[in-house]
Structure formats: C-alpha cells, structure tokens
Symmetry: C2
Subunit: 387 residues, 2 copies
C-alpha cells in the first residue's frame, strides 16, 4: 500500500495543537497559575435557552417509538434548508433552491471536503493570513498554492492573483485580521472568477458579526456570484455551536458542482444529527434569534473593548469592528511567537501567533473576543504592565 505522499509536504503541526501543547507545558511547570485564554477562536457563552429547549425536545422525540428519527437526508432536513433560504438569503434578494443548500456537522469539514470535487492540477489561491486548513487541505491534495498576502499596506484586502487561479479561498469577515470587503471589492473577485472560470470557496463563518452598513453578508449579493462561488456557513460562532456541530454549505447549480457535492455527501456522509438540526432551526425563532444576537453583541462589545484599550496603550491594532478578532502588531519588532511567549510567560495570557495563519501574519498576534468580560479586563491589565 502506498500512502498519500502529499502529507509529507505539510508543516509539522497544526497551529492550535501547537498552542495548546505550549500552554500545557507552561501549566505543568506552573501548576498554581491560571491562563487567560484570549487565543483560540472558541466561544464561551452558554447556549440560549430557546436552543437548549429545542434540543431537549429533539432528545425527547428520539426516546419514543412514535417520534423516533433515524437517518435524515444526507443533505439535511428540508425544513432547515428552507428556513435558511427564507431567513439568510431571501431577505437579501438572493434566490436559492433547497437542493443548493447542504446541512453538515460543521464548516470545517465542508471546507476540507470540498477539495475532493476538483482535479489535482488546479492552481489554488489563498488569502493570507488565514485559517490554516485551506492550505493544508490543498497540500494534502497535492495542489500548488499562491498566497494572497494581506498586510497593513493593502488594508488587509488581497490583490488579484498574478498567476491565474482555479480555486480561490476567501474568508470575510476575515479570520484572523477582522477585515471585511466592500461590495465593490468583493465584486472584483466575482468578476475575476467569471473571467477566469475559477471557483471561489467563500468562508462566511463570521458573517453575523458584521456591524458596518453596506458590507455584503453573502457573496451571492454580488451579481453573477452563483456561477462561481460556494459559500460555507457555520453556526459555531454565530450561535455558539462549537460543541453542538452544525453548519451549511451553498453549492449553486450554476457552478455545475451541485450534483458532485450531492454525490459526495451521499457517499461519504450520513447526514447531520437530528438534535443539532433542531438546534439550528431554533436559531431562527424570535427567542432563539434574540438569544444568539445577545451573545454576538456581547462578543462584539468585548472586541471593541480590547481594540480601544490596546490602541490606548499604543498598540497597532486592526479588526474588532465586524469580527470577534483583533489583529495586533507585536511591539518592539518582535515576531509572533516571541510576543506569544511573552504574553504566556509574563502575563499568563494565551493569544494566537499571527504567523500561524501564514507568512504574512508574521509580527502579529490575534486576540479573540470569545472570553468572559472579567478575564478580558484582567488580561488587558496585565498587558498594560508588559507595555
């Protein structure tokens, strides 16, 4: 048996595992210390009661013969797919059919698995810094990658690739920089993809954090995008589902890829948990929606607080307006891991080193607003002493 040798081209270790290993090592040496986690992008607020009630009801249904449910459709229950269209797309005048919406147990899986739909010899362009999984999935498939560097000089908005790209990964609001694209900036990418017959994989996991008016919430707000874009959405950050597991992916028929993705899911996926789908449905009820909005607003307030205070201390910071992330330049010309280590060892704070999101992230760290207010205040106080 021959293994997939492309795996040998992967960098040694996955970013978040690397961070947690360093944290564990620190705690092993300092068992009395408590770390303030301002790093990993995991939510911390409990689920709104309307969502928990929906899950309790779903569990109850599974416990009685009359209401028991086994396998659902591989692409997700129709009631959820229709609700998504009615709430997330129709109000923005985006016309989708239910067979273009695929429920899954999370955006992370879809973003990785979509890679299978394409031939090996496609050239990939990936916005950078970014979530490392786009590049890793492309490396596993043996594809060449051009990174599209985002830095303070271009306002963290990537330039069109110099080398023609077949597959383009974009993520807006961006993780980790917090950048959003205007309608015109996004239209530039849709037009590029139409002219070059490229496909855009659009990670919109942080869409619900957009506060600024006139920023597109979906790539399909741009004319022609249904021909060239797959949009991946998650309930993880918007509704706190990182432990529940539910997301969805839109594959418009006009991309030509809808039958392939359906086939892929019917072959390698047996459908999403009934309980998780009922939880997702509950996010669209008035009570559920109010509950998740309250959590998002809480995180956004935290983000603004972190940004303001760091700015006040003299740090160069970005993001934090339309995203739960603050992108902060390391002081004293330090590199990302040096700043990370100072924050860990001197302040007992965990952040995410920017270079972990790609070479253009070097010299930055990402702070996350997914913490409780008390820890956040305490962390900011400690950073003050560092500065």
């Amino acid at each position: 048996m021959k293994t997939n040798t492309n795996y040998r081209n992967l960098q040694e270790q996955y970013l978040f595992k690397n961070i947690s290993d360093r944290a564990e090592a620190y705690l092993a040496q300092h068992p009395d210390q408590r770390l303030l986690r301002m790093g990993v992008g995991d939510v911390t607020r409990p689920l709104p009661s309307a969502i928990c009630e929906a899950m309790h009801r779903a569990v109850e249904e599974l416990s009685h013969a009359e209401t028991f449910r086994g396998y659902g459709p591989e692409e997700g229950y129709l009631w959820l797919r229709q609700t998504i269209i009615d709430n997330d797309y129709a109000p923005r005048n985006i016309d989708l059919t239910t067979d273009e919406v695929f429920i899954s147990e999370g955006a992370g899986s879809d973003l990785g698995n979509l890679s299978e739909l394409f031939a090996k010899d496609n050239h990939v362009a990936i916005i950078e810094p970014t979530y490392p999984a786009y590049a890793d999935a492309s490396i596993m498939a043996g594809r060449e990658i051009t990174f599209l560097p985002c830095h303070a000089e271009n306002g963290f908005v990537p330039d069109l690739p110099k080398r023609r790209a077949d597959i383009i990964y974009l993520c807006f609001p961006n993780n980790p920089t917090g950048t959003v694209l205007t309608r015109d900036e996004l239209a530039k990418w849709v037009n590029y993809a139409r002219e070059n017959r490229s496909i855009i994989i659009y990670d919109a996991a942080y869409e619900s954090f957009i506060t600024q008016p006139n920023i597109p919430h979906s790539i399909y707000e741009i004319e022609g995008a249904k021909e060239v874009a797959i949009e991946v959405k998650s309930y993880s950050k918007s509704a706190g589902f990182t432990g529940v597991r539910c997301g969805y992916t839109v594959v418009p028929k006009q991309t030509g890829l809808q039958p392939m993705w359906l086939r892929r899911q019917c072959t390698k996926y047996n459908g999403t948990s009934y309980i998780a789908q009922q939880a997702a449905l509950a996010t669209y009820t008035p009570e559920g929606h109010a509950g998740i909005r309250a959590n998002i607003d809480f995180y956004l307030t935290t983000a603004h607080l972190i940004k303001d205070r760091l700015q006040h201390m003299g740090y160069e910071v970005y993001g934090g307006e339309n995203a739960p992330y603050i992108w902060c330049r390391a002081p004293h010309g330090w590199n990302s891991w040096t700043f990370f280590d100072h924050l860990l060892n001197d302040c007992q704070i965990l952040c995410t080193p920017g270079v972990g999101f790609g070479a253009s992230g070097e010299g930055f760290v990402r702070f996350s607003a997914f913490s409780n207010r008390q820890d956040c205040e305490e962390a900011l106080k400690r950073i003050q002493t560092l500065a």
Copy 2:
C-alpha cells in the same frame, strides 16, 4: 477550474436514494397505501432512557456558563476513548492506546475519508456484495477495483484476491449477506495483508449482532492485525444512533497511518458533538448497556422470525443469525429489481435489491430486521400471498 473527472465513472445514482425515489413514485400514484419498510438499514426502536438522560444532561451543561463546552479534541474526548478501550477491546485482550482511537460523527464518514490517506495508484479489493460506499469512494479517488465475489457456492466468504491488493475493504458481520468469518478465515486475510503489505479497512459496524461463539468481534483478535488493519465501528446499529451520529475508528500506530489520520482529522474535522459523545459514553453504563442490548435482541429475534418464515415458505435465505439482515434469493429466477418491484407493487413492501450491493448480489434482495414486529408480521403475511 477542472473538476475531479473520476466522478464521471460513478454509477448513476446512490442505491438508497434510488429506492426512496421508487417508493415516492409509488406513493404518489397510490396515496392511500402504506409501505412496510423492510429495506433500508435504519433502526426503528427508540433510544434507551439512560442514553436520553445523558443527552439531556449534556444539553443542560451547554446551557450554563460554568459547564459550557465548545470545541472538544478533534479525535474525541479522552474519557470516551478510554471507555471504548476498557469495554470494547481490553476484555478481548486487545491492547490499544487512546491515541489510536478516533471518535467521529459516524462510520460512513470515516469509511469514505480514510481513502484520502492513500496514493491514487493503489489497487483496491472489495468484498462483494457490500455497502456501495467503499467502491464509490475508491472510484472517486480514481483507483482500480477488484471485487471479491461472495455467493452461495463459497458460503459468502470471499477468496483471496488473484491480483495483489493494496487496500482491502472487509465488512463482518457482512452487510448485506449477514455472513461472519471464523477466526481462521479472518486470520487468512490478516496474513495475506502482512505478506503483501496491504491495509485492511475492516467495517465492524454490526459487531454487536454476533451471537455465535468463537466468532471474532474485532479484527485485532487476530495476531498481527494491528500492523495491517484499521477497524471502523459505529453506534448507529448497536445503539440506535443513526440520527444522533457517533462512531469511532481505530488506527493502530503499527500501521504507520496513525499520524496521517490524526492530521487529516485535525485539518478537516472539528470534533464530534459533545452531546453525541456523552450519549456514546452512556452506552457503556449498566443501564445504557442493558437498554441497547434489549434493542439488539429485539432486532435479532425479528431477524430469526423473518428467516424462519421465509425458509418455511420455501425461500432460499442466508444471514439473520449474527446480523440484522436476511439475504434472500429472488424466486422464479427473477433478478433483484424485479423481485423488488413485485414486493413494492404487489405487497407494498420495501426491500433492498441485492444487485445494489454489487454484481454478485444480483438475484437476491436484503430484508432488514430493523422494523417493528407488527409490520414484520404483516409483511411476511403478504409475502406468503405472493409465493
């Protein structure tokens, strides 16, 4: 962008979708009729209360800040992995470490995704008839396949492949024939794989239905299997989790593939639902275990009933002893779909056409014991009129 052209080599439609389309078409023309579902392998018994209570508690934890849980480890919570080793492996003198056990949202995903670990140019051998996804996943990866036909003449036990196989898919107790392998028969495969440096992907989803003594419950009961076998397990059939979604896969370090699978999961998977993992844990408590055993025993009694009655009617039947499936030869020399259509149109019974599991399944249908007793009795009565 170039698509993965291997998808063009897939057969038109996925078996179970095809069946449900025919059922829908029948019901559209006969809206007053009710179909007796003796086909698709989905469970029907409600979840035992101990398991539902565990899920209610997990939901409750997610609803409070103090007990909220977000992302878990990509490979699953340690408490579940350790419990699996202690209960499913240690009592059989199988020595595994927790990092060799990977929790997932289902065996279907793992069986499909494992394909990624291998180079394209591996020759695949697949037991046949079988679950269509092994072949479909191999076709999607562009691999050549040798099928290992199982028929009445070889007692549904496959012969070793004539052409050297790099990757071997085995499934025992077998879906759809219900066959099990003795220790000696399984050892023959392990030895073959050791001699040929092949990898066996061993689908043991129906392991808990084994009633016969001295039948191996895990491939690791065979000496040397840890060097050459990946074992995929599911809570779907054993605990009724088809709607809950949880399974696990064992990738022993001796296969050399454990670091690759860990990397794959850390890149393309964000961990299994906390609620589903708590549900899986509850299957190992005395109450949970008693509950799932009662369901398995119910299905096995149904399987014996179907087998006995069909045999009595003069049908040639196999399986049904160590598996929830009865493999039945179509009467009158009919092919699988002809028998399927007769059962659908004349008896309003849904079965699964054997040919859907591969060419060697032609002339058979699969009856499933995952039905309620009343429907089963009624179905058998109707089949009597057909005969």
